[in-house]
Amino acid sequence: MTSKEPPSYKLVGVIVAIIVLAIALYGTYSFLSWNWATGPGDLLAGKGWTFGQWFYNLGLDFWLVVGGVIWLVGTILFLMELGGVTLEGLKLRRFSLRWDAVDIATTALCAAVYGGGLFATGGLTIIPGFTWIRPANALTPIFGILFGLPGAFGTAIGNFIADAFAGFLSVGSIGGFVGNFLLAWVPYKFVKDASMRSGKSWAQFYLWGVLIGSVWCAIYIGWWLYFIGPQSPVLASFPLTGLPAFLVWGWFTPFVVINNAIVTAFVSAPVTAALFPYAKKWGLYWGDRIQYKS
């Protein structure tokens, strides 16, 4: 931690980290300690595990509106980044990324590493056709914080490849594409110090990279699956997939939250800190490559 930093930042960093770790650990612990003997019966009765039940109990109307807003904001931000406009604080700024050989190579290799890592655990299915246990999700904030947009797009493409290889590719993968993009994009935009040498950067990492990124990605994909599913208030007569709402909000979404949060909380920050000097030295750090337009 830097000595110039006020001690309050370190305290905030520690408090945020503890809160986020507690949420991630509670979700994981309750998932692992779920009674698997009576569990299937509970599942069939429409009851999830405690953490998932909390999500589901918020109600379908709540998720339709809140999830819809979160989905819409995520989609707009994704399209803006594609169009060369980004968020700086609360302002919109035009930027220029050349998408030259370095950016394309970064995108491709991030996709290869992430896609391969996800596929390696593709057999550990949680909801057939939709999600599985994914330790490689720890890579997403690293790619976002170090490589910026190429890393975020690499994450999205990598998820798409893993979906195809593991037999999960469907219209739901559209949500997975943008959702995984957001998982890397959120830390890219909101973790300001990629060296991770200040309490503030750790607080930003745990708040944005672990908590908000994980929740946003999960709700984004969850809402998409709900919206195109048979219980959708809009597409019920034309469903594009067949997941029931209780499985989407009581299982899929909370599972994606804890899967993302637990691996990023314990792995991503030290790896980012260790890799930043290399990314900087080899000219791959996004901050040295992007140009803002006035």
């Binding site: 991030c110 391969g116 720890a138 195809a164 219209v171 594009l240 067949g242 080899w282």
Partner: protein, 272 residues
């Protein structure tokens, strides 16, 4: 499993010979077609037609068995969940299934039909996309991007990622073996200790990846990557009679499905 060509299975069937745009149309048709019907018999027929197509595509028994095994898992889980949904419990009881952990599930006529229909809503798109990537090379996928006027660089990044997947796999394996020989233990300890065990694997892997980025970008730059925004292809894609026929069949199938939805064909959840 060789990943250099993604999931592509080499072959000479009519599906392999189709224009990449027609193959994409085929994949999209299989995503949307089952959504037009609420009758598992019709969606079951679509899935049957798909299986026939998979056999005729000659992608090999191993690939078809993979599709069937994925289908079986999806079928079992989705059926079990939907058939007991309180949303659809009308009609007479067809059978009662005792559960090994206690209790029993009452399967009603409407519940079973509704469950089967939703099974096909998941099965058909997932299996369809699996067949699409089995008969389409990464080269053709990149070509599709160009032909549909989408940014070619996205397609290029996608195909390069597929190309590097085996390289990264081997690198990961080597790093894991090297770290394990130094005492890294990923098999024991609680979940947090196991998760933290990935740190000494990720760091050298990502350093190697960054070196790979430098080498690949240098190689691309020496070939003047991106100088000409219009990419040319050695093998030009042209529509042939087979492509027109296949595209016409799929367009007709979609048009009929829209008509069926409008007039109410295949929308009834009863056996009659």
């Amino acid at each position: 499993m060789g990943f250099e060509l993604g999931l592509y299975v080499e072959g000479n069937s009519f599906m392999h010979k189709l224009d990449p745009r027609v193959k994409l149309l085929f994949a999209f048709s299989l995503i949307f077609l089952p959504a037009f019907y609420r009758d598992p018999r019709i969606n079951g027929s679509i899935y049957g037609a798909f299986l026939l197509l998979a056999v005729l595509s000659r992608v090999g028994i191993k690939r078809i068995l993979t599709v069937l095994s994925i289908s079986a898992v999806i079928f079992f889980m989705t059926f079990l969940i939907w058939a007991t949904s309180p949303l659809v419990s009308g009609g007479r009881t067809l059978f009662v299934l005792p559960l090994p952990w206690g209790g029993a599930i009452n399967y009603t006529e409407q519940g079973v039909l509704y469950a089967l229909n939703n099974v096909f809503l998941i099965l058909i798109p997932v299996s369809g996309m699996f067949l699409y990537v089995s008969v389409t090379t990464p080269y053709e996928i990149v070509q599709s991007f160009q032909l549909l006027h989408l940014p070619f660089k996205i397609g290029f990044a996608f195909s390069t990622a597929l190309r590097f997947l085996p390289v990264m796999f081997n690198d990961t394996k080597q790093i894991m073996e090297a770290q394990m020989s130094r005492g890294l233990d990923l098999q024991s300890g609680n979940i947090l200790q196991r998760i933290r065990g990935y740190i000494p694997i990720f760091i050298p892997l990502l350093v190697k990846m960054m070196k790979g980025v430098q080498e690949l970008s240098l190689s691309l730059e020496t070939r003047c990557f991106g100088v000409n925004p219009q990419r040319s292809f050695v093998k030009e894609a042209r529509f042939k009679m087979l492509d027109y026929a296949a595209a016409a069949i799929m367009i007709l199938a979609i048009a009929f499905s829209i008509y069926a939805k409008t007039v109410g064909i295949g929308q009834s959840l009863t056996w009659a």
